[in-house]
């Protein structure tokens, strides 16, 4: 199967490094990783800091369709952005830049994240005012920038301390039993591949009779159209699912090993509940849609369609690759851990998965109806009055 080496290569290259990153936090370290910030002040601080950085640079970065586009605002727009900066901080842009330079001189090792944490906002700069200003900035430079609401809410970060890092680690061990955390990461990577690769297999299955010149013989056999298509659909789903289960064994075993290392027990059943629950709807959706389109058009249109849909799905997530769900075919969770984020999006994820599973089945059933009409000559072989 075309997808097997792809799955294997993808998993082996992507998951090895994350296995290494799951370590118990040690006291007295400088860096305990970064977590998502929900504090409004932190959000304002980092976003206005980023606004200053981009104001000083050649242009503003936007990702309207997932690809970088640098926007250079007009003089008047830039003046408006300058006003926003000065209102938010109570200082002129020149003063702000001077303050940043002074900090950098005092502490040459300081990074951007630390600089943002030391960035001072005006005391009377309220959150509603901040939201209004960011809407204005988005209006001026376009969608997909760091100043769009969904971006600054999801991408604001903060340094974790030892206690927080330890709490996250313990949650991964106890609630996720390590396997759950590994499974989410595995599903994230698998989802990227499974949203595209099965279309090739499904289209090949549907077109096989035509290519083998066996259509007339097969169509004149007694078996019902639903049974014929149903068995092929099921076989295609299994053909894709079985390698997924097989190649997930590596991260599954890794998760058990890591859990044992910290005197806990991994959970293979939990791991595979994630794998099946997360990936099967994607597989069913892609194969169902491919069956439908290929049956209608009799060619490889479904491949082109799915390629376009896959790209759109990838770009729709934007730069949020942890906890981005909605109705996207490819929900993202590209991290080991972050259980609290998973708990927040869980119901959304369930709705998402049920939706795509149901859509896949509906498309498959429609393909059976169309195939049956073609088999009886009511579509492909010519119309009868």
């Amino acid at each position: 199967m075309a997808g097997c080496p792809l799955h294997r290569a993808f998993l082996f290259t992507q998951l090895g490094s994350d296995f290494i990153s799951l370590k118990q936090p040690e006291p007295g370290k400088n860096d305990y990783g970064i977590g998502r910030a929900t504090d409004k002040h932190a959000i304002q601080q980092q976003t206005i800091f980023s606004l200053l950085q981009q104001y000083n640079s050649k242009g503003f970065n936007t990702y309207p369709f997932g690809f970088l586009k640098t926007v250079t605002p007009s003089k008047s727009d830039k003046a408006t952005i300058k006003e926003i900066l000065e209102r938010a901080t109570g200082k002129s842009v020149a003063e702000l830049n001077q303050a940043q330079s002074n900090l950098a001189i005092e502490n040459p090792q300081i990074d951007q994240f630390a600089l943002a944490e030391k960035f001072v906002l005006a005391k009377d700069y309220t959150y509603p005012a901040f939201e209004k200003d960011m809407r204005k900035v988005e209006e001026l430079i376009g969608k997909g920038s760091d100043f769009s609401k969904n971006v600054y809410l999801n991408q604001t970060r903060r340094q974790l301390n030892y206690e927080e890092a330890t709490k996250n680690f313990q949650t991964t061990l106890t609630k996720d039993r390590v396997s759950g955390a590994f499974a989410r990461m595995t599903c994230d990577y698998l989802g990227l591949v499974l949203a595209l690769v099965p279309v090739f297999i499904a289209a090949t299955v549907v077109l096989r009779d035509k290519r083998a010149q066996s259509q007339l013989v097969i169509h004149s056999k007694r078996i019902s159209s639903f049974k014929l298509y149903g068995t092929r659909f099921l076989a295609t789903v299994l053909l894709v699912l079985l390698p997924v289960i097989l190649f997930s064994l590596l991260p599954a075993i890794q998760s058990v090993y890591v859990a044992q290392k910290y005197q806990h027990t991994g959970d293979l059943l939990l791991f595979y509940q994630y794998i099946i629950g997360w990936t099967l709807p994607t597989i069913v959706a892609v194969i169902g849609i491919s069956f439908l389109i290929t049956t209608v058009f009799n060619g490889l249109v479904s491949v082109i369609f799915q390629l376009g849909f896959w790209l759109l799905s990838l770009m729709s997530n934007g730069r949020n690759i942890v906890g981005s769900v909605g109705f996207n075919l490819i929900p993202r969770f590209n991290t080991v851990g972050s259980r609290e984020v998973f708990e927040q999006i869980f119901s959304e994820l369930v709705i998402n998965r049920v939706f795509w599973f149901a859509l896949g089945l509906i498309c498959f059933l429609l393909s059976c109806v169309i195939f049956d009409r073609k088999r009886k000559g009511r579509m492909h072989y010519g119309n009868s009055r």
Partner: protein, 293 residues
């Protein structure tokens, strides 16, 4: 056992391709003869439920054509273009098609082995379809058409593309399997029908122009078929006067077999001989009478 076709009209879109077809076919081999494009394949596809019947009535062994599942369980079909998945062996291909015919495992095993024997493919049962010759594929095709022990076997142009030896072997095979069944054999090669069929229908431009026994068809052509030997230099003149059925060159002499034309001067040639018509002669004679070429 009977196939009854009454007032069948068939269309592709707005174009009518079959006009008021009426046929009654009984047990044994029945030939459906006609030129390419006459409508034979359309008629066969209608009978095997691959085309819908919206005008007219068809009953096969008492079953209405609209009862597709029942019809498909009593028919076997060998289309003109037949193949199977290239990587399957002969046995696997038959097994797969037997599953689609909803045969149980035991029946499949027994029947497949018997059919492979009957079509002389037993020693080739592990040969992949893509490695088979045309003759082998055609024999495989007949075997799959017989999987469900059909009461009605529909065969479309079975010998097209086969060498003479294979063609003869196939005709004998068809004759063998036509016992206690209706075998509807569609072809543009009269020789395919001559050996085993009793009755024949001739289709021309979507219409039945003849439907009776082969004996009657031959009788109609009695006294109409002639042969003569002429110098090669007179060949062109002869062609302009009569319809040539066949032509054999022998050095500077041409042996012509032709349909007689009372007005043609060649009829008064001293070497003209009246010939006993073959099926092909009779078929061509009929077509010429109906205005064909």
């Amino acid at each position: 056992m009977q196939i009854e076709i009454n007032h069948l009209n068939q269309y592709y879109g707005k174009k009518q391709v079959l006009y008021d077809i009426n046929l009654s076919i009984s047990t044994g081999m029945f030939g459906l003869l006609g030129r390419n494009g006459a409508g034979k394949t359309t008629l066969l596809k209608t009978l095997v439920t691959l085309l819908p019947t919206n005008e007219g009535e068809i009953r096969m062994n008492g079953i209405d054509i609209h009862d597709q599942k029942k019809i498909r369980s009593i028919i076997g079909f060998l289309p003109q273009e037949f193949s199977m998945y290239g990587n399957m062996t002969a046995y696997q291909a038959l097994d797969y098609l037997a599953v689609l015919s909803e045969l149980d495992k035991r029946t499949r095993q027994t029947r497949i082995n018997a059919l492979l024997e009957q079509v002389n493919l037993t020693i080739h049962k592990n040969v992949k379809v893509k490695a088979m010759s045309s003759g082998m594929k055609r024999r495989l095709g007949i075997a799959q058409a017989l999987l469900n022990d059909p009461k009605i076997l529909v065969v479309d142009e079975p010998t097209a593309g086969l060498d003479p030896e294979e063609r003869l072997r196939f005709r004998n095979l068809l004759a063998e399997v036509s016992e206690n069944k209706i075998v509807l054999l569609s072809t543009h090669i009269a020789g395919d029908i001559e050996a085993a069929a009793e009755n024949v229908a001739i289709l021309e431009q979507g219409r039945i122009i003849f439907s009776d026994s082969i004996e009657q068809l031959l009788l109609n052509a009695q006294g109409k078929i002639f042969s003569v030997q002429v110098p090669r230099t007179e060949l062109n003149a002869a062609k302009k006067q009569v319809q040539i059925i066949s032509l054999q060159q022998d050095g500077s002499t041409s042996h012509l077999r032709f349909i007689g034309n009372p007005a043609a001067s060649i009829m008064r040639h001293p070497l003209v001989i009246e010939e006993r018509p073959t099926l092909e002669d009779a078929y061509l004679y009929l077509l010429s009478m109906k205005g064909g070429d």
